[in-house]
Symmetry: C2
């Protein structure tokens, strides 16, 4: 449960090829062809980087004990060989959201929006890692990284559509949707 | 409710003179004579800095609506002329704490430890600003800064003692207690 910093670098090279990029709400990001993910901070920004987004894994802010156990029992790891599709979805929520108290945010997040309950239906098909970045002074509040197999692409669309129609998403004021395909390992 | 970064610099100069420093639990910090607080990140660490601790203000993780309103109605601002006494109390909590679910942490924090309810009794005497730093990769999880008048020094000891005896504090594995006095403004 220790926090770990990840950097997502959009540029001209990387392990993930961008197949689609669009702003769902608010300002977009510059279109890039590739994404590289670093699992630590890096001293020098790669020369071909067009943008860098950083975020840390952290403890859950809303998940209760029973939900935490249900998630742990079903959530897959990243880097499964069949999961060659990915999405990076950076979002920011409004000041109205951040000014809510904890019980109000939890009520919207789960009792009204079923964020955890609905998300559980897509496990173990869709792997996910949430990165927090609001407290890092970054342009987004969260970066969520998803990995799934091509056979689960429709399920992923269903999940994303459901969340975007939720009460919680009324507080999302910026969202960019980046879809990617893992680059084939080069033959030696 | 926007996050704001603060840096606390222990060294040989600053607006606050250190009058006492001790480790309550776990490793101490190097003893310094003065503390300087910057309300933003700084490009160059002052040459006399012995250590720098950074943290950001953020949204409340446990405070519910009624508590938030009670706190807002009573909490004083920092920099009151009479509040020449201060304390900087950096703490870290254990992995056992961070592995708890939100409902478990809330129960310990408030229902068992009365962190908010008891703290409210000391308002508006004691001003407080909480800084989060776990997700910044800092050596501590939180930095809490308190300011109070000399007449409220006993009340402050009572508050600190109460929290240290609480169930919540069983999860604190490192705590340093730094007491300070505001330096007199130099006559022109």
């Amino acid at each position: 449960m220790a926090s770990q910093l990840f950097s997502f670098i959009g540029g001209d090279s990387g392990d993930w090829r961008v197949v689609k990029m669009n702003a769902v709400v608010g300002a977009t990001l510059e279109t890039v062809n590739y994404l590289q993910i670093f699992d630590e901070d890096f001293a020098v920004t790669p020369p071909d980087a067009h943008w860098v987004l950083r975020g840390t894994t952290s403890y859950g802010r809303y998940v209760e004990r029973a939900e935490k156990e249900a998630l742990s029992a079903r959530q897959p790891t990243l880097n499964r060989p069949e999961a060659v599709c990915a999405a990076l979805i950076p979002i920011s929520k409004s000041e109205a959201w951040w000014n809510l108290a904890q019980d109000e945010r939890r009520k919207i997040f789960e009792e009204q929006s079923k964020h955890i309950e609905f998300g559980l239906k897509y496990l173990p098909a869709i792997a996910r890692r949430l990165h927090h970045c609001r407290d890092l002074g970054e342009p987004f509040d969260f970066l969520t990284w998803f990995e799934y197999a091509p056979a689960d692409a429709d399920a992923f669309e269903e999940l994303v559509d459901f969340l975007r129609r939720s009460e919680e998403w009324r507080y999302v004021e910026r969202e960019v949707d980046i879809r990617l395909i893992r680059e084939q390992t080069q033959p030696i």
